[in-house]
């Protein structure tokens, strides 16, 4: 299976090269997108086979100068192939359905390379190959983010993305360096033999958290994500949010649970829990304030990545505190949410793409009422929205239930400071989940419900064929994953064993459990119970109430009737994106995101209109755009002075450097 997957990586990379001449042909783009959709299917098959068959390894006949490039397929990498494959498959199918005629080569060629990079990262079994895949993924996705470079905001997004990607890659190089130590062998098998201890372990985790976390969007390195993900074409946004962030989390999990060895203290999980909680709340709150569909969804990705990071951190803490069953529970929550989020976030980004295609806008304030024009998209989106809002019995609820159970059991670790921190993290996780529900109601309600806000939204057209199946497929999977989380946990068992050396509490295929004999969640009976209750309500109402409805105009709440030049009613008579976010902006935004509202009233007698300005700024982004460039300029100004040195000073500088090096060498030799 591993050989087939390695061949797939090669084929995808070759497809990237072939895509340049293919892009100009009428059906060239369809060929490339169709091939990646099939590749997604192959990745899912490879993942399932890897989980069922057990680990395998492969040394390629080429590689870096010091040895072969190593690949391996163990349960952990096999599990992460599932979200990757599902996301790539659905996105490829969507792009296949939407591609009519030639596509610009810069939009087409990086796409298969991007997928190949992600697969290579997951399959890598040495540091070099992993970094190669990680960087291929970064660079290819950067090219896709920058595809529409005519717009200044996309250029800005691509620049910032490249900066963060470079920073992340650098941190990962350093992490491998610190982990490998003096021996310098970066093969995973060699790294496992020399697990780091104490400060070195903390340094490795900090570097990985910065390196993989900046790619995954863990706060405070999340600010590029709401800029870059929306700038890419919709199917790429879907894969960046659905799969690429998960690949970064895979790197994090690979380091924390495999390469660093099992003998780590419990407090190593604390930074992950804290940063995860911060990401979850900031992402969910921003999702309530953003006014662009794709930006909103990217912020929701930050929230979900935060939840997964909390699960990983808890698993690390439980493992360190020698509570293997709870560690498996937390790890199961993280793995399951990884898969569930990949599916529903891919779906929602594709929906945003379909809406952009049909109604020609990403702004919530230019959409509305699309359920009448795009019914299939609307109902498919509802499945994803309900899962993202963690409503039972959909997939998001199952994994968040597991995460809450792990959080509620975290007091067993025993350390009082940790207990208090985790109690606060529990509150933050609940806050994030409820904020996500609010954000999803806002998203779906403003896009699909109400009246059309623009003529273009009123004339929206829905795609048919493959693009529609690309929405229905993940919608169906969201329902299925929600109803049968037990099956997926069963499949994840080898991965859990690899991560924490224990398996999640066994509860059968139709339930998931918090602990042996503890609380259980049975999705299928719950779904039947709700369906039965709805059926009872329908039956009673049918018996007692007259059939049919009377249709009349909507009550206008006292507004005057809209004049005829407002064909969709008074625009002020409908909640706007900023208006819908107002309560949360006032309640939480002022403290966390520096949200402000300013009313400028004209002086008496003045004829200008009163202005209400509302907005917010991510504190990290303001810091990044304020002090950091100033520091950079100061450093650059100092460095510039070197150019003005005379020949004597230049020679003196060189001489001084040599003397310093020799002194360092002598000092190192003496110790």
């Amino acid at each position: 299976m591993l050989t087939a997957l390695a061949l797939l990586v090669g084929l995808l990379a070759a497809l990237g090269a072939v895509a340049v001449p293919l892009a100009g042909r009428p059906s060239g783009a369809r060929l490339v997108f169709g091939a990646t959709a099939l590749a997604g299917l192959g990745l899912v098959a490879g993942g399932v086979a890897g989980l069922l068959d057990g680990p395998s390894a492969l040394n390629l006949p080429f590689g870096p100068p010091w040895g072969p490039a190593r690949l391996a397929l163990d349960p952990l990498s096999a599990w992460f192939l599932l979200p990757l494959g599902l996301s790539v498959g659905c996105a490829g199918l969507f792009a296949f359905g939407g591609a009519h005629g030639p596509v610009a080569p810069r939009e087409l060629a990086p796409w298969p390379v991007f997928v190949a990079g992600m697969v290579l990262t997951i399959l890598a079994a040495d540091g070099f190959t992993l970094l190669l895949g990680f960087e291929a993924m970064s660079v290819a996705s950067w090219a896709l983010v920058a595809h529409d470079h005519a717009q200044a905001e996309n250029r800005r997004a691509a620049r910032m993305y490249l900066g963060f990607a470079g920073f992340g890659g650098l941190c990962l190089v350093l992490a491998f360096g610190v982990l490998a130590g003096g021996a310098g062998d970066v093969a995973f098998a060699a790294l496992r033999d020399t697990p780091p201890e104490g400060a070195r372990a903390a340094a490795v985790l900090a570097l990985v958290l910065a390196g993989a976390g900046s790619k995954a969007g863990i706060a405070p390195l999340h600010v590029w994500l709401p800029l870059a993900h929306p700038a890419a074409p919709s199917h790429v946004s879907a894969v960046m949010s659905g799969a690429m962030t998960k690949v970064a989390l895979y790197v994090l999990a690979r380091f924390a649970f495999d390469l660093m060895g099992p003998a780590q203290p419990f407090w190593l999980g604390a930074p992950l829990i804290a940063l995860g909680a911060a990401s979850a709340v900031i992402g969910a709150l921003r999702a309530n304030l953003e006014e662009d569909t794709k930006v909103l969804l990217a912020c929701s990705t930050i929230e979900n990545i935060g939840l997964i990071a909390m699960g990983l951190g808890l698993a690390l803490a439980f493992r360190g505190a020698d509570l293997p069953a709870l560690a498996a529970l937390a790890a199961a929550a993280a793995l399951l949410h990884t898969l569930n989020h990949a599916v529903f976030k891919t779906l929602l980004f594709l929906v945003a793409g379909e809406v952009l295609h049909g109604a020609l806008s990403r702004r919530l304030d230019r959409l509305g009422g699309l359920i009448h024009r795009m019914p299939v998209t609307a109902w498919a989106a509802l499945a994803g929205v309900a899962a993202a809002a963690s409503l039972p019995p959909l997939s998001g609820f199952a994994s968040e239930w597991l995460l809450l159970q792990a959080l509620l059991a975290a007091w067993r670790v025993g350390d009082i400071a940790f207990q208090m921190g985790v109690a606060a993290a529990t509150a933050l996780a609940a806050l994030a989940a409820a904020l996500a529900a609010a954000a999803m109601v806002r998203f779906w309600g403003l896009v699909f419900l109400g009246r059309s806000r623009t003529p273009r939204a009123a004339g929206a057209e829905e795609s048919t064929g493959a693009a529609q199946y690309a929405l229905l497929l993940p919608a169906g999977l969201t329902v299925l994953l929600g109803l049968l989380p037990g099956v997926m946990l069963d499949l994840a068992e080898p991965a859990l064993r690899l991560m924490v050396g224990s398996t999640a509490p066994q509860a059968g295929w139709f339930a998931i459990g918090a602990a042996e004999g503890g609380a259980r969640y049975w999705p299928v009976p719950v779904a039947l119970l709700v369906a039965g209750a709805v059926g009872l309500a329908v039956w009673v109402v049918r018996r007692r109430a007259p059939a049919g409805v009377v249709v009349g105009p909507a009550w206008d709440c006292g507004f005057i009737t809209a004049p005829p030049h407002f064909p969709f009613g008074d625009p002020a008579g409908q909640p706007s994106a900023a208006g819908f976010g107002q309560p949360l902006r006032r309640m939480l935004g002022a403290g966390l995101l520096g949200a402000h509202e300013r009313v400028t009233m004209p002086a008496p007698g003045e004829t200008r209109a009163a202005v209400l300005q509302a907005g917010f700024a991510d504190p990290v982004l303001s810091a990044l755009e304020g002090p950091v460039p100033r520091w950079r300029d100061a450093v650059a100004a100092q460095a510039e002075r070197l150019r003005g040195l005379s020949i004597r000073q230049c020679l003196g500088l060189t001489f001084g450097a040599v003397v310093l090096m020799l002194a360092l060498l002598a000092w190192l030799g003496a110790h």
């Binding site: 809002a389 239930w401 609380a519 119970l529 709700v530 309500a537 007259p546 208006g579």
Partner: protein
């Protein structure tokens, strides 16, 4: 035999919850009216209202979608499913293994989202206003709820509602400060979730601060009946939930013979009456607060819940 009893108890419980919901709403209204010096409508008035509404044909806006048609049924179904899971007079009912606290919170969230979407369906200003406020309040109530659940889960070792009720009934936990704090936090959450004073006013229409009524402004006829019934069920299930955990006295234990049910039913009726009296007195005694004061109210609940959990950590038995 135990299985038969548990199924019978479950069926009786379902019938009881479905029948008691409108009566409880009527009793609370009647009690409030008496406290304010009015005669008040008959306690069965909500039931009569429901039957009247069922007979009327709903009027729907021209641009209403299928969401307006389906949401009331989904909300009522979710409320019923949640009410089925909260134990009333007996423990160990057939659905007891399902009755997880987080699941009940999830089912309530399902109903809330259905209601918010129904409020946004037609695109009227009030519906959207109510929906955005409702979801914002819920976002603040959820952490308080889960932190209170944390205290319960630490003491009982599980989040299963039936098991928590059993643990608190049987294992003489005594009076714990943490439980008291959790109870206050849960009461504040219950007040918010049921749109009661001081967060919202259940008996006003067309007031600028209203939340719940704003979302169902467009509903009429059988749809309005379903919304009203779901709201009654939510009030009942919250009170039953508080009673099951904090006043477990008299509840028939799991697998007990039916004569215990009579005791349990009587005890439950007394408890619910007491809680209704307490709620009516609480609502009559205080004024509704401004919308943007609600975060302080719920923030205080969250802090009390956290304080309860921290007290549990500090108390020697756990560290």
């Amino acid at each position: 035999m135990a299985v038969v009893w548990s199924v019978l108890a479950q069926l009786l419980h379902i019938a009881l919850m479905l029948a008691a919901a409108p009566v409880l709403t009527g009793v609370v209204r009647w009690l409030k009216a008496r406290m304010m010096g009015r005669r008040g409508a008959h306690p069965l008035q909500p039931l009569r209202d429901l039957l009247k509404l069922l007979r009327k044909k709903p009027v729907m806006a021209e641009n209403a979608s299928a969401v307006s048609l389906a949401a009331p049924y989904l909300a009522a179904g979710a409320a019923m499913a949640a009410a089925v899971l909260v134990p009333s007079f007996a423990r160990g009912m057939a659905f007891a293994p399902l009755s997880d606290l987080i699941l009940v919170a999830g089912l309530l969230a399902l109903g809330r989202v259905a209601m918010a979407l129904a409020g946004m369906d037609v695109g009227t200003p009030f519906g959207g206003l109510g929906a955005s406020r409702e979801m914002s309040f819920a976002a603040l109530a959820e952490p308080a709820l889960i932190v209170a659940v944390l205290s319960l889960a630490i003491l009982a070792g599980t989040t299963n509602l039936d098991a928590i009720a059993g643990a608190f009934r049987d294992s003489a936990l005594g009076l714990r400060v943490s439980l008291g704090l959790a109870m206050v936090a849960l009461f504040a959450v219950a007040v918010t979730e049921n749109a009661r004073i001081p967060v919202d006013n259940p008996s006003t229409h067309l007031e600028l601060t209203m939340v719940h009524e704003a979302m169902i402004l467009e509903a009429s006829g059988r749809h309005l009946a379903l919304w009203e019934y779901a709201a009654s069920l939510r009030l009942l299930l919250w009170l039953a939930f508080l009673a099951a955990i904090f006043l477990p006295l008299g509840q028939a234990p799991a697998g007990a013979a039916p004569q215990w049910w009579v005791v349990g039913l009587a005890a439950w009726a007394v408890k619910m009456g007491g809680l209704a009296l307490g709620l009516a007195a609480f609502e009559s005694a205080i004024a509704k607060m401004r919308v943007f004061r609600v975060p302080e109210f719920l923030g205080a609940a969250l802090l009390l819940g956290l304080l309860g959990a921290v007290l549990l950590f500090v108390s020697t038995g756990l560290t």
